[in-house]
């Protein structure tokens, strides 16, 4: 069963504009949510996280919003830069620090 879903496989955004990546989950027991970024031929790298008791976490150009009632989170990147072009994975953190990943969204930032 897919506990974390990313329904948009790809997203194209103009440089300087906002990128919004969305994620839905079904497991209400997740205590943290994370976003990982992946470049081709590299492993995923951690980007930003949010505790389930918060609704927003900001780190520079990256902000994650959590709506627990809707079981939805989103990652906002403002302003988007060409170097942000990568695949972004959303994940929920469950018991034993096990991560459940979505299928990823490929972001392309057009110069």
């Amino acid at each position: 069963d897919q506990q974390v879903k990313q329904n948009s496989p790809s997203l194209r955004v103009q440089e300087g504009r906002i990128s919004i990546l969305n994620c839905d989950y079904t497991n209400s027991m997740f205590d943290y949510f994370l976003w990982y970024k992946k470049y081709p031929a590299e492993g995923p790298t951690f980007l930003i996280s949010i505790s389930s008791i918060k609704d927003k976490n900001e780190d520079g150009r990256f902000t994650v919003f959590l709506n627990k009632s809707a079981k939805h989170l989103s990652l906002h990147i403002v302003p988007s830069q060409p170097g942000d072009s990568a695949v972004y994975f959303c994940a929920g953190n469950g018991i034993g620090n096990q991560f459940y990943f979505g299928t990823g969204t490929s972001l392309t930032v057009i110069p």
Partner: protein, 116 residues
């Protein structure tokens, strides 16, 4: 600080052959994870170790997959015999400790396996 090391980076084998992957986690990280990432999907956990003990291997196809972490440091993942559907990137990750709270997982570059 050195990251998670994996080898080989790429492997091509024929079906029914055997293959082994190696992972060296970040020094001091007690927990090690092996993930399988099939093209177009997110990483899926295969097995989780805490030191040299298995925490969870519920999604490991045990008829053909095996993994060990004998000294609680590096780990090997083996597939014997391989099937076409095993073609994927195998990612190793480590974290300081897997308890009741969240710990960031650090990923290696992965091994891309192609089964012909």
């Amino acid at each position: 600080e050195a990251g998670v090391a994996q080898s080989p980076r790429y492997k091509i084998i024929e079906k029914r052959q055997s293959v082994a992957f190696w992972c060296n986690p970040i020094s001091g990280h007690a927990t090690l994870y092996w993930y399988q990432q099939i093209l177009g999907q997110g990483p899926k956990l295969l097995i989780q170790f805490q030191n040299n003990g298995v925490v969870d291997d519920s999604q490991l196809p045990k008829d053909r997959f095996s993994a060990e972490r004998l000294k609680g440091v590096d780990s090997t993942l083996k597939i014997q015999p391989a099937k076409l559907e095993d073609s994927a990137v195998y990612l190793c990750a480590s974290s300081l400790l897997a308890g009741s709270s969240y710990n960031e997982q650090f990923f290696g570059p992965g091994t891309r396996l192609t089964v012909l």
